[in-house]
């Protein structure tokens, strides 16, 4: 049947597959990629994507995420390793035979064709009959709510509409999976957020596998089932959005996803899952979760989320510190306070605006945090 009736079956498959990596639909195995034989853009990439999953590759520019996507689409060849799609190696299959849809960064709509012609192009090259093409094109346009725009040229559409046409074109030939290369990068903020939900809903509805590339963490958090955080050609962490945010495994992920306060120190004691860290310059000791350190004497960077710091209350066990207010920014629902804590001038605390906060810049605040909210990571 057509993709429009897949969601029910897909939804159940999705749950099954996500917990079963051996059933992976897309599999990157030991992928290396170098353009010049001197620098590796992607290093030993191993990645499994289940059928129906929405996986985002997130990372700063130059981290290898787009290269990875292009290898999957067939426009770049891996220097080493193999990519499997539906258990079959695809390195030798040219892009036009891969049956993978793609939404390009600047949409790549063909300017000399109308919206309808753009959408029928992939069906025409597959020699699908005229009436069927017409029907599929109309369905795809209706899906992105552009049913009446078929006869327009791309230049006559707004950025958001072009984006939807690009999306419809990537889906109209019922590809095995869809790749999206920063598809919302050119839109303004409001439209971007709106399109995030729309893409997410379309994904939920038709249950197609999506591999999405972005450098915008909030976009990744909003849309994805799982996120692969890229840096320096290596996947730093691959996990669901909540785990990425709450349990980052290294300091890059902690810094890249969400806001993050850091304190540097040396491990002085290890006790099972927790450890004690002596802060640099003698600012005191912090109890923290042992995540990315091994033994006594290791240097570490502590990571604390701003919203996990409480003010004007003391913790009976440990982790009580003083902070001097450097700057207060009024943001309506909360007040953002920049403090100097243990020598760190950029320590951020979010104070809920409950009407009782009366401190001024220069005041000293009592801060405390729970050891479970502090993660001792690499430096």
């Amino acid at each position: 049947m057509t993709i429009w009736f897949r969601p029910v079956i897909q939804a159940s498959l999705q749950i099954f597959n996500m917990n079963n990596p051996s059933q992976s639909f897309v599999k990157f195995e030991k992928i290396d990629k170098s353009y010049d034989g001197e620098v590796l853009v992607v290093k030993n990439l191993n990645l499994d994507i289940a059928k129906g999953e929405f996986v985002t590759m997130l990372g700063p520019s130059g981290s290898g995420k787009t290269t990875t996507l292009m290898m999957l689409a067939g426009f770049e060849t891996p220097t080493n390793g193999e990519i499997f799609l539906d258990t079959k190696p695809i390195s030798k299959i040219p892009p036009y035979e891969r049956e993978i849809g793609m939404v390009f960064q600047n949409y790549a709509l063909f300017p000399h064709m109308t919206v309808e012609e753009n959408l029928s192009f992939p069906l025409e090259v597959r020699k699908i009959s005229k009436p069927e093409t017409k029907e599929k094109v109309q369905k795809a346009l209706d899906m992105v709510e552009l049913g009446n725009f078929g006869t327009r040229f791309p230049a006559q559409l707004s950025g958001g509409q072009q984006q939807r046409v690009a999306l419809a074109r990537a889906l109209v030939f019922e590809p095995r999976l869809v790749l999206m290369d920063e598809p919302l990068g050119a839109l303004d903020k409001n439209l971007r957020e709106q399109m995030q939900y729309e893409i997410k809903h379309i994904h939920d509805r038709i249950g197609i596998t999506v591999v999405y590339v972005t450098h915008d963490q909030s976009e990744a958090l909003t849309m994805s089932n799982r996120i692969a955080v890229f840096n320096d050609g290596v996947v730093q962490q691959l996990s669901t959005p909540d785990i990425l945010y709450e349990k980052p495994e290294n300091s890059f992920v902690a810094k890249f996803i969400g806001e993050n306060n850091t304190l540097n120190g040396v491990v002085t004691d290890v006790n099972g899952e927790t450890c004690t860290v002596e802060l640099d310059n003698g600012f005191g000791k912090v109890k923290a979760l042992k995540i990315n350190v091994n033994e006594k004497g290791d240097k570490t960077q502590l990571s604390i989320r701003p919203e996990r710091v409480t003010i004007d209350s003391t913790n009976p066990e440990s982790n009580n510190f003083e902070g001097k207010i450097q700057e207060l920014i009024y943001l309506g629902d909360h007040i953002r306070a920049r403090l100097n804590v243990c020598g760190n001038d950029e320590f951020i605390v979010k104070v809920p605006n409950e009407g009782s906060f009366s401190h001024k810049e220069g005041d000293l605040l009592n801060l405390s945090w729970n050891p479970d909210d502090v993660r001792a990571l690499d430096i």
Partner: protein, 425 residues
Amino acid sequence: MEVTISTAELLTTDGTPLKQSLRKAERRNKLRAFLLVFPLLLFIVVTFVMPIGDMLLRSVDDSQINSVFPNTFNEYKSWDKEADELPPEEVYKSLFFELANGDKRQIGKALTRMNYAKSGWKSLIKKTTREIKKIVKKGEEPVSYKDTFIKINKLWADPTYWYSFNQMVNDRSSIYYWNAIDRTFDEDGDVALQDEKRRMYINTWFRTFKVSIYVTIFCLILGFPVAHLLANLPLRYSNLLMIFVLLPFWTSLLVRTTAWIVMLQQNGVINGILVWLGVISDDGRIQMVYNEAGTLIAMTQILLPFMILPLYSVMRVIPKSHMRAAQNLGAKPAMAFWRVYLPQTIPGISAGGLLVFVLAIGYFITPELVGGKDGKLIGSWIAYHLRTTLNWGLCAALGGILLGIMLIFYWLYNKIVGIDNIKLG
């Protein structure tokens, strides 16, 4: 609900009408804009509009000869060619006095004009004028002017001379244009083919078209891949390649054309290499220059940059992602090129094509030098008449036809592709 439409004129805060106030405010800007373009406007009017206007006027102008023989031509028009073999007595009489009393210089000019219509006029009139002046000096009045003329020279009894007057008797005449396509006026003033030995323009026109079209096609075939390469190579390579494309612009046209002669002639470089390779025998050297082939080869090379540059400027802005997108959607590379890339280069193809064709159709130096006898284009005829025969009317008509053809092409282009699609850089 009742809708009231205000008919009152809009006023500014100060109470003056809005339109008037706007005009006043914009006047200074308009004046400044006009003054800025004025020098260029003046330059174009003086160096472009006026000469072309003058040329177009010249191509239909026959007033000089009409001011020399006004009465003769007037009487001539009443000659009934069906009834009488020769013109009536009055024609001879008018001509007699106009030759006897006319200004020598003006008659000289008119004679040149008459010779274009029929060769032989010049010597005939010169001889006759001498005799007429003798008769006038003696103070005799001829009984029959016709007989007197025929006595002076029996060619005056040849009606074909008289028929050629048909081409000149009007102030404004289309005869030059007809001449330019090997047509003339017959005895009744109707359009007819020229004598066989005077037909030379039609063939040249056809050759001009053929060569221009071939040159345009060759330029496209050769230029398209180069432009594509230029647009897609990394910058440092494409800059180097661009220098090779532009190099011809920095070399004298004459030098380039002469270089082609050196290359192509029978004892030239290419024939030499072919003989050395054994492809052709020493006495089977190919004639590649001083004929149409030479014109084609040299003009293609010289006009190639005019095709490459517009193509390049269009190709440069076609995003590379389009070819990828087409392949991603399932099109093989050839299909992707044909359906997605090529249609987007049409503004460049048509701009380059139009430019090369228009330049080729009026080209002169190269065909003149390498064209030999059967490789000359219409530009050579224009130059010939301009410098050698001084038949400026015919020059102007040939130029006018060229201009007309270009305008027609421009119009067609606008109809088919749309002039706002043109892209030169």
